[in-house]
C-alpha cells in the first residue's frame, strides 16, 4: 500500500494522477472504520490533511467558503455565529477526538445518508468546489450527492472547498438517535428561516438514501409564515411536519424502523419550526 502525503493541491492532484484508484483520506473517521473491518482494501491512499489550499475558511460576498479539511472542532470554534446549526451538528457527531479529526470535505465526500453536516448544507444550497485534471468546477451539493455514499466526484478530482451561502435568520439542527450525541442519527433535520428571501429551508438526514430537501414542505410553509413576525399558525406547522414526513424515504435497520424514522422527522420538523419562531 502506498500513502502520499502532499502539501499542496498540485502535489495532491499529481499523486492522484499517479495512482488513479487511490482513496482520498481526510479525517479518516469513516474510512478507517471500513479499513479496520476489512470492508475496504485500499492499495493507494492520498492523505489530504496537510494540503494548504484545503485549510481554513474565508468570508466572501454573501457566503463563506469552507476548506475541505475544516474539522468539526474548527466549525464549532469559528463558525458558530455564521452557521449555528452547522456548529450544533458538529457537536453531536462524536467525541472530541472524532470532532478534531472529522472534516467537512470528508463528510461531503463520504456522502453517508447519516452525515450530520449535510442536511444544513443542502438546506442552504451549498456548492462544492472540485479541482481535477480538467481544471476546477463547482456543483450544487444537492446534485453532487447522488445516492448512499455515492457522489458525482470524477476520477482525479479532489473536493477543495464547500461554499455555503450566508442566510439571515434563525437556524436549527435537531437529531434523534439512541441518545442525543456521540451516536449515529436515526433521523436529523436542519431548518433555516431565510428572512431576506422569506423562504423556509430544510434538510433531512438518515431518512433517505441521501440528504433530502423536502421542497413541497418548504414551499408550503414559506407561503404560510407571516414573515413580519415571523409567525405561523399551529395548523400550518402541523401540515409542514406532515409534508416533511411524507418526503422521507427511510429504511428499517437495527437502529430504528422506517416508520419511526418518518415519524421522527415530522417531530423534528415541528420542533425546529417552533424553536425558530420563538427565537
Amino acid at each position: 500500500m502506498t500513502v502520499a502525503r502532499p502539501r499542496t493541491l498540485a502535489e495532491a492532484l499529481g499523486a492522484l494522477e499517479a495512482t488513479p484508484d487511490a482513496h482520498l483520506l481526510a479525517g479518516g473517521t469513516d474510512f478507517m472504520v471500513e479499513v479496520n473491518f476489512g470492508h475496504r482494501r485500499p492499495t493507494d491512499i492520498v492523505a489530504l490533511r496537510r494540503v494548504v489550499e484545503l485549510q481554513g475558511h474565508e468570508h466572501a460576498d454573501g457566503h463563506v467558503t469552507l476548506g475541505a479539511m475544516l474539522t468539526y472542532a474548527e466549525i464549532e470554534a469559528d463558525l458558530a455565529e455564521d452557521f449555528p446549526a452547522l456548529a450544533a451538528a458538529g457537536r453531536t457527531v462524536g467525541s472530541p477526538q472524532i470532532r478534531n479529526a472529522g472534516t467537512i470535505g470528508g463528510n461531503v465526500g463520504t456522502a453517508s445518508p447519516a452525515g450530520d453536516t449535510l442536511p444544513l448544507l443542502v438546506a442552504l444550497d451549498a456548492e462544492v468546489d472540485l479541482a481535477g485534471p480538467e481544471g476546477t468546477r463547482t456543483v450544487a451539493l444537492d446534485e453532487f450527492i447522488t445516492g448512499p455514499k455515492r457522489t458525482d466526484r470524477r476520477p482525479g478530482e479532489i473536493i477543495t472547498r464547500v461554499r455555503v451561502p450566508r442566510v439571515t435568520g434563525p437556524q436549527q439542527f435537531l437529531k434523534i438517535g439512541t441518545r442525543n450525541a456521540m451516536v449515529i442519527s436515526i433521523a436529523c433535520l436542519a431548518l433555516v428561516l431565510d428572512l431576506d428571501a422569506r423562504r423556509v429551508r430544510c434538510g433531512l438526514g438518515s431518512v433517505g438514501p441521501r440528504p433530502l430537501r423536502p421542497r413541497a414542505a418548504e414551499d408550503f410553509l414559506s407561503g404560510e409564515i407571516d414573515w413580519d413576525g415571523p409567525r405561523a399558525a399551529p395548523g400550518a406547522v402541523r401540515r409542514f411536519a406532515e409534508l416533511v414526513a411524507e418526503a422521507c424515504t427511510p429504511i428499517t435497520d437495527q437502529r430504528g424502523t422506517a416508520e419511526y424514522r418518518r415519524h421522527a422527522a415530522g417531530v423534528l420538523a415541528r420542533r425546529a419550526v417552533e424553536r425558530s419562531l420563538q427565537s
Binding site: A241, V267, R270
Partner: protein, 786 residues
C-alpha cells in the same frame, strides 16, 4: 472472636484514596499489552466467518509465504494437541459438559479455529487474510424460541431439541400451580432481556511463554481468575499444574466475561510452545464482540398471583436462556440464579420456576455483572408494579405489605436461599422518601413524568464450598489470605482474589492495616500470580472478593495481631491485653513511653531470638476462609423519569440508591462501584443491545452501534447506605460489586409505566430505546406528533 479482632479499628470505614490509582492514572500500569518479552511473535486468531458449518478445507500455504509470517497452527493440529475445556457449572442432566478447543463444526461467528504467528501484528493480520478456509455451511438458528422448534437445526447430539438444560426450581410445579389457582388475581407477562457485551475497557489478551528447559508454560492474561485459568490451561494442554503459571498483571476491567479460560487463549499458548518464543495476542474490539462471552439474554414467561388485599400468593417464571453456541463455563447458571433470586425481598405462599438452557448459533453466553439477578429484578419488580396497577394500590405500599420484615430474618425462601440479615423495608422507605426530595416542579414541556422503584436482594460472596457442591458449580468456594509483617515492620498481604479495577488493593490493605495498627502505606497487597498467590479456585467473581477474600484477611491479620501483642508484651514486660498498636508502634494503652516499634517486634520475630516459650518464629499467618453461609446484600433503587411522547426518549431526572452491603470498608470505593454499576445498568435499560441477522451474523460489532452509557445518560445520583453486618463473614462485609447493575432497568421501566400507564402492559423488553418506546406509545395510541 478474640478481643484483638473485635477492637474497633481506625481504617475500616474510611474513604482511603486508592493506593494504585497514581500508577494507573499516569499510564504507568502494566497491562498485558505492555509486556514486551524479547523475541515476541504476534498472533492473530483465525476465526469462523460463518455461524454454523463444517470446516472442509484449510490451506495456509500462501500465508506462510507472506513476509513476517512464521507459523500457522492449523485446526487439525490444535485439535490433536488439546483436550476439551470443561464446563464448570453443570446443571443436573446437562447435555453438553465440555467443548473442544477447536471444533469440527463451528457454531458461531468468531469461533476460534487456529492461530497465525508473525513478527508484527500487521504482518500477522495480512497473513491471516491469505489463510484459506472452506466451510460446508449448515442451516443455523439464532432465535431461542425457533431453536426449540421441530424444524430447527440440531446443534449438539447431547442436547435434543437444542435443550442443554431443563430443570424445575423452587416448589414443585403442582404446588405453585395450585397456589396460583387459588389467588384472587394473576398478572402474567412475557419479558425479554437482551443480549449484552461486558465491554471492559481492556479487552482480553495473552502473552504466552514456554521454557523448553524447565517445561514450564507462563501465561500472562487479562483474567479475573488466574488459578482457575491455570487449572484449565494445564488440563487442555495435558501439562502438570506445577508446570503452568498464570499471571494477571494490571487488568482493565472484567465484569464477568474474564471468569474463565477461553479456547483462543489455549491456542495462543499452544502456538508459543511450538514456536519456543513468547507469543502475544491482544483481542481487538471487533473480536471482543464475537469471541468473548455475552450476557443476559433470557425470555421469562412469568406470573405473579395475589389476593384482593394485596398479599402475594405465588410467583413463577418459565425461563428460556439463550446459551449461544454451547454451554459456557457457567452455562445456564445465570438462569438458575435468576429463578433462585426471583422472590427478592418478598414473602410468597409458593414460588418456583423452570429453567431451560437452549443452544443457538450465537456467541456463548456467560457471566456478566448481575448474573441473573438483573433479570430476576426486572421480571419481579415489573410484575409487582402491574399488580399494584391492577389493585389500584400504591407500588411502595404493596411492596411494604409483602416484604420480609427485619424480625423475620433469617428467612428461607422457596429456592432455599437463607436470607441472613437486614431491614429491606427500611431501604424501601428511605428510597421512596429520597426520590421525592429535590425534584423540581415539573416544567410544562409536554413530557409525562413518573417514578419507579426496584427492591432486590442480592446473593453475594459465593460461597460456602458445600453450597457450590450442591448446585454443581465445580469451584471451591473458599479464599486464602497470608498476612505477613516483614522484618522491616511493613506488612504484605497475599490474596488469591484477583482485583481488576475494584480497588481491592486498597480495601484489603485497609482490613490488614486496621488490624495491625499500620498506616495504609505500610501494607502491600500481592495478588494475581499463581506462583505466589494462595490457591483460589473461583477468583474475583460473584461479588465475593471482600466477603470471602476479605474475611480471610480479617482472620489472618487478627491472629497476627494477637501474636504481635504477645511478643511485644514479652518484650515490654506488659500484659498483651494492655497493649495497642498505633501507627506501627506497640504501646501500653495510655502510656506511650512504654512502647516498642512494630519493626523491632518483627526483627525479633524473624530473628527468632528471645521469643517467649513455645512461640514459633516469624510474623506470618495464613487463613483459609470457607464462609459459613451466603451473604445477602439488598437495596431499593428509585428512578424519576420524563418521557417524550413524540420521540419515545426517556430522560432520567433523579436516581436514588439505598443500599446495604454490611460493613463498609471504604465508602468511597463502595460509592464508586455503585455509581459504575448503575451506569452499566442504565446501559442495560436504555442503550445496549447485540443484534444478529437471520444467518447468525452479528449486526453490531463496534461501539458505533453498541451504545455504552456516557455522561449524557447517567444522571447525578443519590447513594445512601445502611450497614447490617453479615453474621457469617469475619469483618461483617457483604458483597457489592454487582449490586448497582441489578436494579436500573426495573426502576426505569416502572417509572416509564408510571408515567405512561397506557403502555404499562407493553413495558416488557429492554433496552428501552426511543424507537422501541415510541413503538409502544404508538401501539397504545398515546404517541404525539409534537
Amino acid at each position: 472472636m478474640s478481643d484483638a479482632m473485635s477492637r474497633p479499628g481506625t481504617l475500616v470505614g474510611q474513604r482511603v484514596l486508592r493506593v494504585n490509582d497514581g500508577k494507573l492514572l499516569t499510564g504507568a500500569g502494566t497491562f498485558v499489552d505492555d509486556l514486551h518479552l524479547p523475541g515476541t511473535l504476534h498472533a492473530v486468531v483465525l476465526r469462523s466467518p460463518i455461524a454454523h458449518g463444517r470446516l472442509v478445507a484449510f490451506d495456509a500455504a500462501e500465508a506462510l509465504t507472506m513476509p513476517g509470517v512464521v507459523d500457522v497452527l492449523a485446526p487439525e493440529e490444535a485439535r490433536d494437541a488439546t483436550r476439551p475445556l470443561r464446563c464448570v457449572w453443570l446443571m443436573p442432566g446437562q447435555g453438553q459438559v465440555d467443548y473442544p478447543v477447536v471444533p469440527r463444526v463451528v457454531r458461531h461467528v468468531g469461533q476460534a479455529l487456529g492461530v497465525l504467528l508473525a513478527t508484527s501484528v500487521a504482518a500477522a493480520e495480512d497473513g491471516a487474510e491469505r489463510v484459506r478456509m472452506e466451510f460446508e455451511e449448515l442451516p443455523c438458528v439464532v432465535d431461542v424460541e425457533a431453536a426449540l422448534g421441530d424444524a430447527a437445526p440440531q446443534l449438539d447430539p447431547g442436547c435434543p431439541g437444542n435443550v442443554a438444560v431443563d430443570l424445575p426450581r423452587g416448589d414443585p410445579p403442582d404446588a405453585v400451580e395450585a397456589a396460583i389457582a387459588r389467588a384472587d388475581h394473576v398478572v402474567a407477562m412475557r419479558f425479554a432481556i437482551q443480549r449484552l457485551a461486558g465491554s471492559p475497557l481492556e479487552a482480553r489478551g495473552v502473552v504466552a511463554s514456554w521454557s523448553p528447559a524447565t517445561g514450564e508454560l507462563t501465561m500472562w492474561s487479562s483474567t479475573q481468575v488466574p488459578h482457575h485459568a491455570r487449572d484449565h490451561l494445564a488440563g487442555a494442554l495435558g501439562l502438570a499444574l506445577d508446570r503452568v503459571r498464570v499471571v494477571a498483571p494490571d487488568v482493565g476491567g472484567g465484569f464477568g466475561p474474564k471468569d474463565h479460560l477461553y479456547a483462543d487463549e489455549v491456542l495462543v499458548c499452544l502456538a508459543a510452545m511450538r514456536a519456543r518464543v513468547p507469543v502475544k495476542w491482544i483481542e481487538d474490539r471487533r473480536e471482543a464482540f464475537t469471541a468473548t462471552v455475552h450476557g443476559r439474554e433470557q425470555i421469562h414467561e412469568a406470573r405473579l398471583a395475589f389476593d384482593d388485599d394485596g398479599r402475594f400468593v405465588a410467583l413463577h417464571s418459565d425461563v428460556l436462556a439463550d446459551l449461544g453456541a454451547h454451554p459456557s463455563n457457567v452455562g445456564a447458571g445465570p438462569a438458575f440464579v435468576a429463578t433462585g433470586m426471583l422472590e427478592g425481598p418478598y414473602r410468597f405462599d409458593s414460588s418456583g420456576g423452570r429453567v431451560r438452557g437452549v443452544l443457538t448459533n450465537k456467541t456463548p453466553a456467560g457471566a456478566y455483572r448481575g448474573f441473573g439477578m438483573q433479570q430476576a429484578a426486572w421480571v419481579r419488580e415489573r410484575l409487582v408494579d402491574e399488580a399494584a396497577r391492577t389493585l389500584g394500590a400504591d407500588p411502595a405500599e404493596l411492596r411494604r405489605r409483602n416484604m420480609i420484615r427485619a424480625d423475620e430474618l433469617p428467612y428461607t425462601t422457596h429456592t432455599h436461599q437463607n436470607y441472613d440479615s437486614g431491614d429491606y423495608a427500611a431501604a424501601l422507605e428511605r428510597a421512596t422518601e429520597l426520590v421525592g426530595e429535590g425534584l423540581p416542579a415539573a416544567p410544562d414541556d409536554g413530557r409525562r413524568r413518573g417514578v419507579g422503584l426496584c427492591s432486590y436482594v442480592e446473593f453475594t460472596g459465593l460461597g460456602p464450598s458445600a453450597v457450590q457442591e450442591i448446585v454443581g458449580f465445580a469451584l471451591g468456594g473458599y479464599e486464602t489470605a497470608v498476612v505477613r509483617v516483614e522484618p522491616d515492620g511493613r506488612a504484605t498481604v497475599l490474596t488469591g482474589v484477583s482485583p481488576h479495577g475494584q480497588g481491592l488493593e486498597t480495601s484489603l490493605a485497609q482490613l490488614a492495616a486496621d488490624a495491625l495498627g499500620l498506616p495504609i502505606t505500610d501494607v502491600r497487597v500481592v495478588h494475581g500470580d499463581t506462583a505466589t498467590a494462595p490457591y483460589s479456585a473461583a477468583g474475583t467473581i460473584a461479588s465475593r472478593s471482600m466477603t470471602v477474600g476479605g474475611g480471610a484477611v480479617v482472620r489472618a491479620a487478627g491472629r497476627l495481631r494477637v501474636k504481635i501483642l504477645d511478643l511485644a508484651g514479652h518484650l515490654l514486660e506488659a500484659a498483651p491485653g494492655d497493649l495497642e498498636i498505633i501507627q506501627g508502634v506497640v504501646q501500653v494503652r495510655g502510656s506511650p513511653t512504654a512502647a516498642v516499634p512494630l519493626r523491632t517486634v518483627a526483627e525479633k520475630a524473624w530473628l527468632a531470638w528471645g521469643l517467649p516459650p513455645g512461640m514459633a518464629p516469624g510474623l506470618e499467618e495464613k487463613d483459609l476462609h470457607d464462609p459459613q453461609d451466603i451473604s445477602y446484600s439488598y437495596a431499593t433503587h428509585a428512578a424519576a423519569v420524563a418521557v417524550d411522547l413524540a420521540t419515545g426518549r426517556i430522560e432520567i431526572e433523579r436516581y436514588v440508591v439505598v443500599h446495604d452491603c454490611g460493613v463498609i470498608v471504604n465508602p468511597m470505593i463502595v460509592d464508586g462501584q455503585t455509581h459504575g454499576g448503575v451506569a452499566q445498568g442504565i446501559g442495560n435499560a436504555l442503550l445496549e443491545t447485540l443484534v444478529y441477522d437471520d444467518v447468525g451474523q452479528p449486526r453490531i460489532a463496534t461501539f458505533h452501534d453498541y451504545v455504552l452509557p456516557g455522561t449524557g445518560e447517567v444522571p447525578d445520583m443519590v447513594v445512601e447506605h445502611t450497614q447490617t453486618p453479615s453474621p457469617f463473614i469475619p469483618g461483617g462485609m457483604k458483597g457489592m460489586g454487582e449490586g448497582g447493575t441489578i436494579a436500573p432497568a426495573a426502576a426505569i421501566g416502572n417509572a416509564l409505566a408510571n408515567a405512561v400507564p397506557e403502555i404499562a402492559h407493553l413495558v416488557t423488553e429492554t433496552p428501552m430505546t426511543p424507537a422501541r418506546v415510541w413503538g409502544w406509545l404508538d401501539a397504545a395510541g398515546v404517541a404525539t406528533d409534537w
